[in-house]
Subunit: 234 residues, 4 copies
Amino acid sequence: MAEVVEYEVKVLDKGEVKLINQMDQGGDYGVVAAARVSNGVAYDKASKGDDADFKLISYLMKHRHGTPFEHNLFTFYIKCPLFVAREWQRHRIGSYNEVSGRYTEFNAQFYIPTVARKPAETNKQGSVPVNNKGADEWLETEIQRWSLAAHVEYKKLLDFGIAKELARIVLPLNLYTEFYWSVNARSLMNFLSLRTGEDAQWEIQQYAKAIEPMFFDVMPFTYHAWVNNGRIAP
Amino acid sequence: MAEVVEYEVKVLDKGEVKLINQMDQGGDYGVVAAARVSNGVAYDKASKGDDADFKLISYLMKHRHGTPFEHNLFTFYIKCPLFVAREWQRHRIGSYNEVSGRYTEFNAQFYIPTVARKPAETNKQGSVPVNNKGADEWLETEIQRWSLAAHVEYKKLLDFGIAKELARIVLPLNLYTEFYWSVNARSLMNFLSLRTGEDAQWEIQQYAKAIEPMFFDVMPFTYHAWVNNGRIAP
Amino acid sequence: MAEVVEYEVKVLDKGEVKLINQMDQGGDYGVVAAARVSNGVAYDKASKGDDADFKLISYLMKHRHGTPFEHNLFTFYIKCPLFVAREWQRHRIGSYNEVSGRYTEFNAQFYIPTVARKPAETNKQGSVPVNNKGADEWLETEIQRWSLAAHVEYKKLLDFGIAKELARIVLPLNLYTEFYWSVNARSLMNFLSLRTGEDAQWEIQQYAKAIEPMFFDVMPFTYHAWVNNGRIAP
Amino acid sequence: MAEVVEYEVKVLDKGEVKLINQMDQGGDYGVVAAARVSNGVAYDKASKGDDADFKLISYLMKHRHGTPFEHNLFTFYIKCPLFVAREWQRHRIGSYNEVSGRYTEFNAQFYIPTVARKPAETNKQGSVPVNNKGADEWLETEIQRWSLAAHVEYKKLLDFGIAKELARIVLPLNLYTEFYWSVNARSLMNFLSLRTGEDAQWEIQQYAKAIEPMFFDVMPFTYHAWVNNGRIAP
């Protein structure tokens, strides 16, 4: 029975991931208990020792028995740019509540990249660093300048008396947003599998990589079995 | 931050409901925090006192803002007859792991009703008690006798060497099964709304009614707001 | 057996909704057939005439028997601003495929509002028209100018050699995007219920109102029963 | 644009699978169109010829881009024994409407196996044929006799005046039921993957194998790409 592990990790220039809630009796135990109910084993007698438990979890993972991994829920607080949130919220097995630009005036917080990236030659959607300090500085200055200008424009509309929900439409996709995300371990593994992958955009990769050790810490056997399974979710 | 409330309630003649897991920081707080993130309020500052919190939850319920109720997960252990489990598992927003008759030899546990019920006159699917002690006793004896015969038949097939997965097909729908059910508060309210209703079969009503006070105990504000909303889930 | 009805409706200044696909044997018939299988009625004999069918559909709607409405799938093509798409894609019971700014260079298409809106006095998230021609013109000019500037900035980054996926982060939320949306009738009614409501932002209301007659045309009995039910989805 | 293909296949002794509905413009075209919207290609210009289309579908399958496969919905009519339906309905991404034993008196239709199966030595949940004609005949006679007795018992309770919903609890798991199942191609591939597998019970395998050619016929490219991908759903 795990005690609550609270994590807080900084991501990108102003982003953040926090694990704010999970099951009271969480961890790998929930997986093992759910799987062994097939054989009529009682909840409080579900563990058969670490070796047998890890072996069972590995078997479930390999044979795509996914449901035992659904009894563990994680709630994360996420602060990320809008273009990252747009990709994130396409994952439908999970629950989202987000700050609303209709209710709330946005702060002047924008993601300012510090590394210029150019199109990858081998992957038509991907990108690689330009590896040129001058280019990096040019990009950083440019996006910084543009973001400030966008915030000025937003404030100008608000000052004129335009409603928040309408004024926000001038804000760019590098604006930071905040949301809660509740996701079970099965769906989380699918997210990590796809979003830590090389095909994912660099910025969302950083978020997925920040979450991965939190998942490991709460469910170490499940984590290892997932890695051994080629990071494919069951 | 609620401490874990563990409940165990007997249902029907041999059935059971136990609340075996929930969120570490569960209760109404999760709803309030998820709703107030819309306004950019931090997780640990989400409560504005009981009155304001209850008012917010009532507002969400009435206006069908359902997502804040999805961050609370409950895991129940259920022991119920197969015909009840069949209705239960049609609720798709939730996770199930069940004892398998392919792996495990079933015990001789059957639901034996003690009240004879006849077709309702006003509701073509429903039923009402016959209100005749002789009829009650006749039914109880009949189903008891039949259940024992079914178990004898099952054992006969097993003894002949038939595989468990095939032998089980002679077992009747009043056989008890066991499963874990993880469900969030939003989906749970939908279940309770439908399955405590008069249209539901009497037996599944008993299960829903057994779960209702567990839900109340963990999320009292949400429970009251749901009742005030005519027991309609958001 | 409805023939394919193809609709195309313009929304906002450059937006669009098209119904591009639906069930081969769609319409209200699917609802009626799915409901009557409860009574063992065969698929090709499911209709009992318009009056009985409409009465059945109304009963299902009122008593929240939602599953018979899930056998009808609609695929829509949607062209809408990003801030509308963000709200839309929070509806999780449905399937989305969207143009990707990682692969594709965006056109210079932006939503330019022609009516200035100020905060509503009675609803902290809503807005009402300013009703001042000068304000309308000021807003239109301002957003037009800003959108062009944003597109220039985007092109500047692309011309410098920045990857599309990174350059897009300067684009504002009034940029048009395009996606396909497949949704069943039950989930569609929930969408229409919430997004034609007064609480919804004016722009997404226009999309929901554009879709409503398409739904009516394909499933007229279901549509009327839903309206009679206070536009509450089952 | 596929014409409607209606299939009807007999399964087991009295079972059946029928494809009763699908998309008006179904087939592989929907997958290709949904995938190419990423690149901003219009719906009616989505095909680039068979070779390019098949290559694209194979790429999506291999790289687990699953959403383009969600725009194709299939509605099947299924007649199968209760123990098969119980396994089937655990697949949650799909819609079910089933004949109700609360409303409807069941016919005396039971699955009578003609091949005795014993526990597999290598797989604790599985089974293999006994390969003994005497054993086959013994089992068939035994289950035939038991099923008739169960139906007599059911009728006895009904004749006494017991409500249908209560009388049905004496019926065994080899009773036939009927339901409609609407499922998208992505979820269907997952079903076929798991239920045609050797680990699945023999009876549900027969249903999955009956459905497989219907899927092939409507979406031949998708089918082949799925087979080439080791029958793993994206």
